[in-house]
Structure formats: C-alpha cells, structure tokens
C-alpha cells in the first residue's frame, strides 16, 4: 500500500501529469494554456505541502505557540504565482494575436495555413 502520509505528493503528481497531458494532447491553443496553468499550479501545491510541519501553526509569532510551519516556500510560491500569471497573460495575449492573424486557434488549422504558403 502507498503510505497515506505522502498522499499530497501523489495529488501534486497526478495534477502535474494531467496538465502536462493537456498541453501535449490538445490542439486548441487556449486549452493548452489551461493545461499549462494546471501544470504550474501542481508545483505550487507541491511546494506549499512540504512547508507544512506536523502539529505546527501558521508562521505568525505568538506566545501561545512554539512550532510554526515553514514560511519560506509560501514566499517562493508567491513569486512563482506572479510568474505563472504573467505567463498565462502573455500566452493568452499571443493567442489573441494568432486568432487575428490566422482566424483560428486550432493548431492543425494553423499548420495547414502555414504549409500552404
């Protein structure tokens, strides 16, 4: 049996592969961005989940607590989320421009138009 204590990693991995599969298998450019976002988010969850310490509380200093979760991964992931948002925004902006230029957001139709040139 899988050790249930590690289920967070399994969830992160399943999400990661789901996202990765969508990026590879879908021909729709918008859906690819969706897949990419899921892929990135799974990594955020991976980071956040290993910052959790058993029996610890949120990392806010208080006299009543002695063990705290690790705040550093949270900070790192805040940065990574910003990067992720920027990536999605830029990706979608490119899709808008591609749609203006080609009139479609389907990869196979774009390739077909390109090969006709």
């Amino acid at each position: 049996m899988i050790d249930p204590g590690l289920y967070n990693y399994w969830i992160a991995m399943i999400l990661m592969m789901t996202g990765f599969y969508i990026v590879i298998a879908r021909g729709n450019l918008v859906k690819k961005i969706v897949g990419l976002t899921i892929f990135q988010t799974s990594v955020f969850i991976l980071y956040i989940s290993f910052s959790k310490v058993d029996g610890a509380t949120a990392p806010i200093l208080d006299d009543r607590f002695t063990t705290y979760g690790n705040p550093l991964p949270h900070v790192l992931i805040l940065t990574a989320i910003v990067v992720g948002v920027a990536t999605s925004a830029l990706g979608l902006a490119l899709v808008v421009r591609i749609r203006e230029a080609y009139g479609t957001v389907e990869e196979d139709e774009i390739l077909e138009q390109d090969s006709n040139e």
Partner: protein, 493 residues
C-alpha cells in the same frame, strides 16, 4: 566604493533602464539610452572579470543579508566570463539595432522593443550572476517572458506561433527547474548553491535527489535547446526580428549551458552526475546526434536564418560534448566554444540582418547574385561561415581543436571523427548560401538593392573580425576558459 557594488550594478542597471525606456517613449532616445546602459554593463562585466582574474570569488550579499539566508550574488571566473559574453554581444548588437528595428518594428512600438530587450538582458545577466537557485528561476522567467515578446514582434505572422510554441516549451522547462529546486529544498533546507553543494552529499543517495537532478537537467536542457529538446528553436530564430535573433542566438542558449555547468559541477559535483548517475553517457550521445542530425537538416533549409538556427542546434552539441567529457580539457573546449560561438553566430545573424533589411527576406533563392550588390555583407557571411566550419586562424578552429584533443585524451576517437565529419556538413550548408550569393547571376527581375548602411555593417564586421582576433590570439579566451574549467572540476567534492 563602486567596485564592491559591481555585482549588484550588473543586474540593477538594465533592470531600472527597462521601465525608463517606457517613460522616454521616443524611439531614438530609447535606443541611445539602451545603448549607453548596455555599454556601461559591459564596463561592469569587464571590471568583474578583472576582480576575479586571480581565481578569487566575489560574494555579494543583497540587502546585507548573510547567505545562506539572503540572496547571494557569487561571481567567479566562470560566470564573469559568461557575463562578459552577454554584455559584449549586447554592446555590439544595440548600435546595429537602430536601423534594423526601424525597418522591422513599427515606430510607435519601438520603445516597447527596447524595454523588453533590456529586461531580457537583465534576466540573462541575472541567471549568470546569482548564487541562489530560486533566484535563477526568477531571472530565467524574466528573460524568457521578455524573449517571447521579442520573438512575437517579428513581421511574419508565423512569429506569433513560434513565440507561442516557445512559451509553452519554455514554461515547461522553467517549471521543471522549479520542481527540481523544490525537491532539493525539501531535502536540504537551503537554496544557496554553495550551501546546497555542501549539504547534498549527505542525502545524495535518495530517490528525491535523483529526481531533482533529472528535473533540473531536463528543465535547463529545454531552455538550452539541447537535442532532442530543441524543437522551439528553429522557428523562434527564423521569424524573430533580426536583432532579436542575433542577440538570443549569441547569448540565451549560452547562459542556459552555463546554468547546466553550474548545476552539474558546482551544485551536485561532477562526480555525482557523471560518476554515480552516469549521465555523461546520455549527454555524449545526444551531443553527437545533435551535431550530425541538425547539421544534416540545416543543409536542406530554404531560409538562411532557419539554416543558421539548425546550425546553432548542432553547435550546442559541440558545447554539450565538451561538458559531457567532464575533463578539464573537455570543459575548456565547451566553455571557450560558448564565447567563440557567440562571436560566430552573432556575426552571421547580423549579416543576415543586413540582408533582411535590403531584401525583406532571408530566403536563399532571393540571394542569387547578392555578392554583386552587397559585397561587404556577403563577405562577412563567408568569413563567419569559415569560422563556423572551423578553418584554421578562426575561432571555430580553436574550439574544435580543443574538443578533438579532449575526445582523444579520453579515448573517444569516434567522437573526434564525428566532430570533424560534422564540420564537413557545415561546409555543405554554408556553401549553399555562398553558392547563391557568388555563383548565381542576379535575376533580371530582382529589385535593385544597395549595400547595407554603415551603422549595420560596422557592428557586423566587429564580430566577424573578432573571429580572427580570437582565432589567433587565444591567450584571453582559452586562458580564462581553462582556469574556469579547473575551478569547476576542482569544485567537485
């Protein structure tokens, strides 16, 4: 006073200049400003190289926070050399950019171009200078996001799809890198590279660290376009504006290769990746396949920019071959080829920029008889091509000579044979352009064109002549590369 803050200035200067460009608005002002900033960055990089020349290591603590808690900028000879490559190329490419950008990018968008260019420049310098693994990810994304924008500015609509494809693959690469850093952090509790190097041996035999190594290397290999992860590269280089192609081809993949060196040799230690995991065998095979397959594909291209892009994939194979040999000589060859290839491809793509300015395309069949009307540009291409092939007295020869030596030293005579054979393939693809330009008559119907303006020819020729200079006087490049290689191998625990 200022000397001790050089590491911070190296990144902060272009970073602050990027938004300043948006405020300046006027394209000429932006260009002048970006050029000055780029030259200042070159001065900073030269200063850093002098400070590290005796083998010293500069450790700069950002905000005064002690490493490993704060972010540390760590400059030794290896990254001082990479910083020099990036800043030299930028200092030469920007003067070229004025005319080229005016022709290829709408006037009202030019300020955005310069601002993105400076951000990309910042990101590349940041990757090279930082000693913090997570900081690398941030700079990697700064340079990547801005380069997607730069590529999408190309005139052809295929530039958009090329940028999109690069965005998808680049993001996957960067995310893989992030996973690797996260796994290492989970095992060691640190993000500082030097600190990681000390703590990894204690946990080296766990599956988590093995996985971290795999994620990091594959992530970087995607950004460095190591075969077979190079698929984004040909379209991106082909359809991007000429200036962008020249800049990215000469710097972006080099910085990624440097990062690969750092991760394999400094963080994990050469004995780990190459000894325990036997990763070098994988790299040797990929490098050789890249050299042969990409060179062969290059021969059959109809577009000269695309031809050169495939040749870049092959040349990256040479660098990876040098790295994968893992010896001091091999690494020297790999590192010196970083510099030499930047000179070669920078020069060649600038020459293509001149052609593109006049012809509006870089298709080989449009170049028939071009030597008659653009003698200086085509001559530059021929000389750059000779260096790419590796004719003696050029930089390309120096790199290949050292690589062949390194391969023979390790008993890989077949690798040495294949290096020479792939040079022959380079003759074939360079010849295709030369044949069109010199041995075909200029078609009657061809639009009359003149030589490219001096503002573009001079930067092109600076890089082309640098090929001769560093092909004859190798004391600087090979000397620094050898010291850098010794530092990398010596750093291995």
């Amino acid at each position: 006073m200022i000397a001790e803050h050089l590491p911070a200035l190296q990144v902060v200067l272009p970073l602050l200049a990027a938004p300043a460009c948006i405020l300046l608005r006027r394209s000429d002002l932006c260009w002048a400003f970006a050029t000055v900033v780029s030259w200042l960055s070159l001065a900073v990089a030269v200063g850093l190289l002098f400070q590290t020349q005796d083998g010293g290591v500069i450790s700069y603590h950002l905000g005064g926070w002690e490493p490993p808690w704060g972010i540390e900028y760590r400059v030794d000879l290896v990254n001082a050399f990479v910083l020099l490559i990036v800043t030299v190329i930028s200092a030469v490419v920007l003067p070229f950019a004025r005319t080229s950008v005016a022709a290829e990018i709408p006037q009202e968008k030019a300020y955005l171009f310069y601002s993105m260019y400076l951000l990309c420049f910042t990101g590349l310098l940041g990757i090279a200078i930082t000693g913090d693994a997570f900081n690398v990810f941030v700079f990697l994304e700064i340079s990547s996001l801005s380069s997607y924008v730069l590529i999408s500015l190309g005139k052809d609509r295929r530039a958009l799809t090329a940028a999109y494809q690069y965005l998808i693959m680049g993001t996957i690469g960067a995310t893989f890198f992030l996973i690797g850093v996260g796994l290492l952090y989970a095992m060691t509790g640190t993000l500082n590279m030097a600190d990681l190097a000390e703590r990894i041996p204690a946990v080296a035999d766990t599956r988590t660290v093995h996985a971290a190594f795999a994620f990091l290397v594959i992530g970087i290999a995607l950004k460095a376009a190591i075969f077979p992860l190079h698929l984004w590269l040909p379209n991106a280089y082909c359809y991007a504006p000429s200036v962008v192609t020249a800049f990215l081809a000469a710097t972006a993949t080099k910085v990624s290769i440097y990062l690969l060196l750092r991760i394999i040799f400094t963080v994990f230690g050469g004995a780990y990746g190459f000894g325990v995991l036997e990763f070098d065998l994988v790299l040797v095979v990929l490098a050789l396949v890249a050299m042969l397959a990409a060179s062969t594909v290059a021969i059959f291209q109809t577009d000269a920019k695309r031809l050169l892009a495939y040749s870049s994939v092959a040349q990256i194979g040479y660098m990876v071959l040098g790295i994968s040999l893992g010896s001091v000589v091999g690494l020297t060859g790999g590192i010196v080829h970083l510099f030499n290839h930047a000179m070669i491809k920078g020069g060649l793509f600038l020459a293509m920029g001149c052609v593109f300015l006049r012809l509006g395309s870089a298709r080989i069949r449009d170049m028939d008889g071009l030597a008659l009307v653009m003698p200086w540009t085509t001559a530059a291409f021929v000389i750059g091509g000779l260096s790419l092939i590796g004719v003696p007295l050029t930089t390309g020869f120096i790199s290949k000579w050292i690589l062949v030596q390194a391969a023979l030293e390790d008993g890989f005579w077949w690798a040495a044979v294949l290096v020479v054979f792939s040079s022959l393939l380079a003759v074939a693809y360079v010849w295709r352009v030369v044949e069109a330009a010199y041995f075909q008559p200029r078609p009657e119907a061809a639009i009359p064109v003149g030589e490219a303006p001096l503002a573009m020819l001079i930067p092109t020729w600076i890089l082309i002549l640098a090929n001769f200079y560093f092909g004859v006087d190798t004391s600087v490049t090979v000397g620094v590369a050898r010291q850098a290689a010794e530092a990398l191998v010596g750093a291995a625990p």
